[in-house]
């Protein structure tokens, strides 16, 4: 039986130098269900063809069948690692169309939960990046700390991962009494672990050897490919919507936009992209501390939530700085309580498209790390 099967192969048609490897859709380090068709010449990658859609859950079709309120749970499930950040641009877009000005306290609460979620997201990103490089222990250290953030978000919203916490005009629930103190404690823990991981992983000589000078993305290519977030900033472009568009109350905080500096390796390589995330965690800590100090105590966060949302005819594109990059929602309203069309521009979707460009000529092992440094979530890529 097996003999017959072997005869079927036409050896003359095979290119003996090149081998095509199928990475994924089930592979330990594709960060989900991505399939990469890789052509290697020995160990050198000559071509990468990404095949998406293994998690295409028909998000946009669902949005057309749901009321505006019911869409929020589905938006959570898009980029499930940073659900809070996802909900924000959607809610902002509706508030813009409805012309609602949300109370101060809501704005600050939104900033705090989003930045907490940003830290949690970057912790996963850096942790899985380390895991791709073979370091397991930093992965668990970051997950241990992430748990403290998740506990705060769970106490606020009632869910651990998919919060459904933002509402048009407010938030689903108010803060609890010990909230501020707990957030500050978590910030201290995040900083402590970050300092530890710096020595354990980021500045480890093997890790530097693996990631520096690997997957170099120049700023021109990054902009042309529409990259955003840490991927773009790792290439040295200081593009951050929190500063450039200063939505919500971000203009009241003092924070820096970390960019890849080429301290190790060169600007735009995997190490620098990763380092931007580590630095962003620190900046998020700073923002959280300032927001906690400035946040007004009184005020009802649920006061302005409309019972039934009916959006006037029109369309709007709203984007906000997700941990992965610019997350945009293009909403077309037809005047009813359900959108005519809702298109989500996922940051991961656009960032991932740069993979074939930057992974050519590196080794197969590097491809895994380049993919890890892009930090994708397939829920957002495939939607």
């Amino acid at each position: 039986m097996s003999e017959i099967k072997r005869m079927d192969l036409e050896y003359s048609q095979l290119d003996s130098d090149r081998m095509r490897i199928n990475v994924g859709p089930q592979h330990p380090s594709t960060h989900g269900v991505l399939r990469l068709e890789v052509e290697v010449d020995g160990e050198i990658v000559t071509e990468v063809v990404p095949h998406l859609g293994y998690l295409h859950r028909s998000f946009e079709k669902h949005c057309e069948r749901m009321t505006y309120q019911q869409i929020i749970p589905y938006i959570d499930r898009m980029d499930y690692i940073s659900a809070m950040n996802n909900e924000w641009p959607y809610v902002m877009a509706l508030e813009k169309m409805l012309d609602i000005k949300v109370p101060e306290k809501v704005e600050y609460l939104r900033v705090i939960v989003s930045e907490l979620n940003r830290i949690a997201n970057h912790q996963i990103a850096v942790a899985t990046f380390g895991l791709d490089a073979g370091a397991f222990t930093p992965f668990l250290f970051y997950f241990r700390d992430r748990e403290y953030i998740i506990w705060i978000l769970e106490k606020l919203s009632g869910a651990r991962l998919l919060y459904n916490y933002f509402r048009v005009g407010g938030m689903a629930a108010d803060i609890y009494p010990t909230f501020k103190q707990e957030v500050l404690d978590v910030v201290a823990k995040v900083r402590k672990t970050n300092a530890e991981i710096m020595n354990l992983l980021i500045y480890n000589s093997i890790f530097i050897k693996r990631t520096a000078h690997v997957g170099i993305l120049t700023p021109e290519v990054a902009i042309n490919y529409g990259c955003s977030g840490p991927v773009l900033r790792g290439s040295g472009v200081a593009h951050d919507l929190r500063r450039d568009e200063a939505y919500s109350v971000y203009d009241r905080f003092d924070f820096e936009v970390p960019v890849g500096k080429g301290e190790v390796g060169v600007v735009g390589d995997s190490w620098n992209r990763n380092m931007v995330r580590v630095n962003e965690m620190e900046q998020s800590c700073r923002i959280i501390e300032q927001a906690i100090a400035q946040m007004p105590d009184e005020g009802d966060v649920t006061a302005l939530i409309p019972k039934r949302i009916k959006i006037p005819k029109g369309e709007v594109y709203m984007r906000a700085e997700n941990p992965k990059g610019d997350l945009g929602f293009y909403i077309v309203s037809n005047g009813t309580d359900k959108p005519e069309r809702l298109k989500a521009r996922g940051a991961s979707f656009v960032n991932l498209s740069v993979i074939p460009e930057i992974s050519k000529g590196y080794m197969f092992a590097d491809l895994i790390l380049i993919l890890g440094s892009i930090d994708i979530v397939l829920g957002e890529v495939d939607r």
């Binding site: 749901m66 309120q69 019911q70 869409i71 929020i72 749970p73 589905y74 959570d76 222990t137 241990r144 769970e154 106490k155 919203s157 009632g158 869910a159 998919l162 459904n164 689903a172 629930a173 530890e196 020595n199 354990l200 500045y203 480890n204 000589s205 093997i206």
Partner: protein, 203 residues
């Protein structure tokens, strides 16, 4: 040459730094919560299993409308005034609607909490109970109605009789009740598996 020696040194020293850090964690207190024996306190607003309190449910259909995934099935029958079997809500008001069917499919629920927020009488609630995994998908299909099917049929018969007596007043309302989005009960044939496997032991 100096670069070469430097590389060797940085390799060795960063290895030792890493080993120092990891060895530091060897003897600290472990953070693990050993689940079945120890439990982490779950916040009271955590969204886990949904529980309906039938004594509070008025059958207003708001939870069904709010549910994004349509995993709630609700069928009601109006209480006729001359029914010998009358019931009170928990707050002492007389019941207006019989809940002939209230079924939830936890295999579909997305635990978003929108039904809980929509409920005006606080009848449907997320609890902190999460331990209800099942060997069979049909076990995740929960039925909350208190009436038996025979009772439900009886109520429907009573209502039909009442309607026949007093047609114009009631016709409008029953129409509305029949208009509910209805979810399909899980198909028994669909849950059957392809490979023949050992049947699960009786729990």
């Amino acid at each position: 040459m100096i670069q070469y020696l430097k590389n060797i040194w940085s390799g060795l020293s960063s290895t030792f730094t890493g080993m120092r850090i990891t060895s530091g964690h060897l003897f600290v207190k472990k953070v693990t919560i050993q689940y079945p024996d120890q439990r982490f306190p779950i916040p009271s607003n955590a969204r886990n299993r949904l529980v309906l309190t039938p004594e509070r449910c008025t059958g207003c259909n708001l939870c069904v409308v709010a549910c994004p995934v349509n995993c709630i099935l609700l069928e009601t029958v109006r209480v006729v005034p001359d029914d010998p079997h009358q019931e009170l809500y928990e707050n002492g008001q007389p019941r207006k609607m019989w809940i002939t069917r209230y079924e939830m499919d936890f295999a579909k629920c997305c635990f978003c909490g929108l039904c809980q927020a929509a409920c005006p009488s606080d009848a449907i609630n997320h609890t902190t109970d999460f331990e209800y995994s099942a060997y069979d998908r049909a076990d995740l299909y929960y039925k909350y109605q208190t009436l038996t099917p025979e009772q439900a049929a009886e109520k429907e018969r009573l209502l039909a009789e009442f309607k026949a007596k007093d047609k114009p007043a009631v016709a409008k309302k029953t129409e509305k009740a029949a208009d509910h989005p209805v979810t399909a009960a899980p198909d028994k044939a669909a849950t059957q598996t392809l490979t023949d496997k050992e049947p699960a032991p009786e729990a």
